[in-house]
């Protein structure tokens, strides 16, 4: 599909049935929480419904018509996703439950006695590098790995502006480093990290690099070959697809070298009572019946996003973000946590309101105006500690949001201030 029609947000909104529902009390819905989870277009909902109603069977193992149609749809979704992210091979696209599983899967390959590949050897004296702006899903798996192996966990700090501080890059990433795993776009700050300077150093020292692209794949064109890293994880539900499905992309020769993460059905080649041999990738990492309908739904989601155009979506969000940053900064007592310009940042804007707790902000926005934002630490507690705050209010935008919704947010925030004034 080619992006032909000009970007028309009103037309796009019609594709998302939920956006025209009314909340109790007749309030319209203003959905500014897509960084948490995005809404789904009819095209995705109908593809999933159609699959369940007409084609559903187990994949890879059923010989009948339904099994074959289901397998075609499931594997077809893999092809679509491979094309969407520019993967050199479809076999490099592994379906997971979510981004967390992808990150855990890669972490599990390190310091694992059954993995004899030199690049994955990890023990005391070796180092893992993450950053202070990570989601818990890109912190905890590496903490667990460090605890299992005795390796040292290190991290890039974050500047006051909300950028990755890479001034200590050469010290932080050194000959002891085995893996660097950082977020591509922060789920709190909106910051889009520049990959190439870090990757250059990673290559210099012979380490591997992983990117958490949960917040970037949905919002900008991503080409994994251009990024040049070794692993990329993202999740379906933030990119107009269903929940329960995520993707791990990895370079094939690395995936081939890695041990299975979960054992079970369909991940094997042959099984004896005392040992097994494994299926080639991607199936080596897809034990058990996978989320079939969800994978098919994710395929429909990338078709949908492609039909709109990722470059167009990025541009639309950039306009919304610029508009929001300007409007929000005019509110007295509002402090934006993250970059205050649209340069190298996406459409996620977190902030505090002086003297008012985010939970109260979120509650009143929802109760009075039907505005859905996220409040709390957004699964990035260390980042909030870094800024000396317990929580923030976060508005996150997507292709279906409008400047009128940002106006509503600003009106809502003025009202919140009046209540607590």
């Amino acid at each position: 599909m080619n992006a032909a029609a000009p970007f028309d947000v009103e037309r796009i909104r019609k594709d998302f049935p939920i956006l025209s529902r009314e909340l109790p009390g007749g309030r319209p819905l203003v959905y500014l929480d897509s960084g948490n989870s995005s809404q789904k277009p009819t095209q995705v909902i109908e593809t999933m419904r159609e699959h369940l109603a007409q084609h559903y069977g187990n994949v890879g193992r059923a010989l009948h018509v339904l099994g074959s149609e289901s397998t075609d749809a499931y594997e077809g979704a893999r092809d679509k996703i491979a094309a969407f992210i520019g993967a050199p091979s479809r076999d490099e696209v592994i379906f997971t439950k979510n981004a967390s599983e992808g990150l855990n899967l890669v972490a599990y390959a390190f310091g694992n006695p059954v993995n004899t590949d030199e690049r994955f050897k990890l023990g005391p004296g070796d180092e893992i590098v993450i950053s202070e702006m990570e989601h818990h899903s890109n912190i905890v798996p590496w903490q667990l790995l460090a605890q299992r192996t005795g390796a040292t966990l290190r991290w890039f700090p974050v500047t006051d502006e909300g950028r990755l501080d890479i001034s200590g890059l050469d010290d932080l990433v050194n000959e002891r480093t085995k893996i660097v795993s950082i977020v591509h776009q922060s789920n709190v700050l909106g910051t889009v990290n520049s990959v190439s300077p870090i990757l250059a150093r990673v290559r210099e020292v012979g380490a591997l690099m992983m990117l958490d692209c949960s917040q970037s794949v949905p919002h900008q064109p991503i080409d994994v070959t251009e990024l040049g890293v070794d692993f990329v994880a993202f999740t379906g539900h933030k990119m107009v697809g269903p929940s329960g499905i995520g993707v791990l992309w990895g370079r094939k020769e690395l995936l081939d070298a890695m041990p299975p993460f979960l054992g079970g059905g369909e991940m094997i080649e042959a099984v004896w009572m005392d040992h097994s041999t494994y299926a080639p990738v991607p199936h080596k990492f897809e034990a058990g019946t996978p989320p079939i309908v969800e994978a098919v739904g994710l395929g429909a989601a990338v078709d949908y996003l492609t039909s709109i155009g990722m470059e167009e979506i990025k541009q639309h969000e950039k306009e919304l973000t610029g508009y929001a940053l300007e409007a929000l900064q005019e509110i007295p007592g509002l402090r934006i946590i993250g970059p205050r310009t649209v340069v190298a940042r996406g459409g996620t804007v977190s902030f505090t309101l002086e003297g008012i707790h985010p939970h109260d902000v979120g509650q009143i926005l929802d109760d009075v105006y039907g505005i859905a934002v996220r409040v709390g630490h957004h699964c990035a507690r260390p980042l909030h500690l870094r800024f000396g705050i317990p929580a923030t209010t976060r508005a996150s935008f997507y292709l279906y949001n409008t400047t009128a919704e940002i106006d509503a947010l600003v009106r809502g925030l003025h009202h919140v201030q009046k209540v607590f004034g």
Binding site: I356, H357, P358, H359, D360, Q363, I364, D367, V375, G376, H377, R381, P390, A391, V419, F420
Partner: protein, 140 residues
């Protein structure tokens, strides 16, 4: 939900700040939102609650609930105040279906609306659960 009385207590918390002397101190956290409270109790002869002092951070509901608790518990007895805690807990866990006993609850009846918001019930209960815990420890 945001009754005038709740906002009043939030803006002008009563009895806030940790004081000496005390019999027990507890620290309770609501991990889902990061609200926290540190609470001290001092119990005198005849089970009289001489002081309930506290400090914490969090949303208006959690902080106002601590302030109202201070007013209700200080000067009453352990026994009386625990029955208020029980009634308050019953109200909060009643999903908005429980008719509150105003005679028992006093100002705490203002929190009745919070019970309709399951995500916020823990905010209202934070200080009250901490108080109950502190009393148990003070008697130990």
């Amino acid at each position: 939900m945001y009754q005038e009385l709740i906002l009043e207590h939030y803006k002008h918390p009563q009895g806030r700040g940790l004081r000496e002397p005390f019999d027990a101190e507890v620290h309770h956290v609501n991990p889902t939102c990061g609200d926290e409270v540190t609470m001290r109790v001092k119990v005198g002869d005849g089970g009289k609650v001489l002081d309930v002092s506290y400090d914490g951070q969090g949303c208006s509901i959690s902080q106002a609930a601590a302030s109202v608790l201070h007013e209700l518990a200080t000067g009453s007895t352990v026994h009386e105040s625990l029955s208020v805690v029980d009634e308050f807990t019953r109200l909060m866990q009643g999903r908005g279906q429980v008719e509150p006993d105003e005679d028992v609850l006093g100002d705490a009846v203002a929190f009745a609306g919070v019970a309709k918001f399951p995500a916020r019930v823990k905010c209202a209960l934070l200080a009250w659960m901490a108080y109950k815990d502190a009393l148990v420890r003070s008697q130990a």
